[in-house]
């Protein structure tokens, strides 16, 4: 696979991830709106089997907390996808050590870090609420594993740091006559 093909493949994958996560976040947002203003029964299946009806019947405030947390996680996933597209667009396989690449790698790392914290908080909240109403299983099925994303964030930060060093070395190499 040539360098040009790798770049093209990366762009396609990034767009697929972004569109997929946008659809996910958009569908959840739309269904939350429908459940609130049009059909309250929609709470039973907010997105792909996400059933928050027992929680809503138990406590409206807790329902909004969980629904908004899950939505926030979905939106963060979409933002992650967006930065992935930006990264794929600025990445030149022949000369990868550029400032924009390092910038978007850092942004991806930051987004992954916030995503892992948001996922952890959502899971913790669902775990606590599970004592009163069964909600953990449905939330866990739609919430990414925070530990894995935290590892991803750490890896991205390390890669971003390596890129910063690479940029410095490349600049030095460019200015060596």
């Amino acid at each position: 696979m040539s360098a040009k093909n790798i770049a093209q493949f990366l762009k396609v994958i990034a767009w697929v991830i972004f569109i997929g996560t946008c659809i996910k976040a958009g569908a959840l947002l739309l269904n939350i709106g429908i459940a609130e203003w049009v059909q309250p029964l929609a709470t039973a299946n907010l997105y792909d089997g996400l059933n928050l009806q027992p929680l809503r019947q138990y406590n409206e405030l807790y329902y909004w907390q969980i629904a908004s947390s899950v939505l926030f996680v979905f939106v963060l996933q979409a933002i992650f996808g967006w930065y992935l597209i930006q990264l794929a667009q600025v990445l030149q396989i022949d000369e990868p050590f550029t400032q924009p690449v390092a910038k978007y790698l850092t942004k991806l790392g930051q987004t992954a870090l916030v995503l892992s914290i948001a996922a952890l908080l959502t899971n913790s909240m669902a775990k606590w609420l599970d004592k009163f109403v069964p909600v953990l299983a449905t939330v866990k099925a739609h919430n990414p594993a925070s530990a894995e994303i935290l590892v991803l964030a750490a890896v991205l930060f390390v890669v971003a740091y390596i890129f910063q060093r690479g940029i410095a070395l490349q600049q030095e190499n460019d200015l060596t006559v």
Binding site: Q171, E172, L175, T176, V177
Partner: protein, 73 residues
Amino acid sequence: MPIIVNLDVMMAKRKIGVNELAAKLGITAANVSILKTGKAKAIRFSTLEAICEILHCQPGDILEHQPTPSSQT
């Protein structure tokens, strides 16, 4: 940087232009310009040798060390 590149002075003395020197050195005019304007971070011995041969000078004629005020103390 305390190292001053006096390539422009030597080029003026020998009446040689950037393009001509670049062609003789076998490097791009942009790289000669980087060297001339003092933007270069490093110079290869092979480049320095070629410059000295073309301009009939010594490395000391091209490079000069000017101590910064802090390093003088």
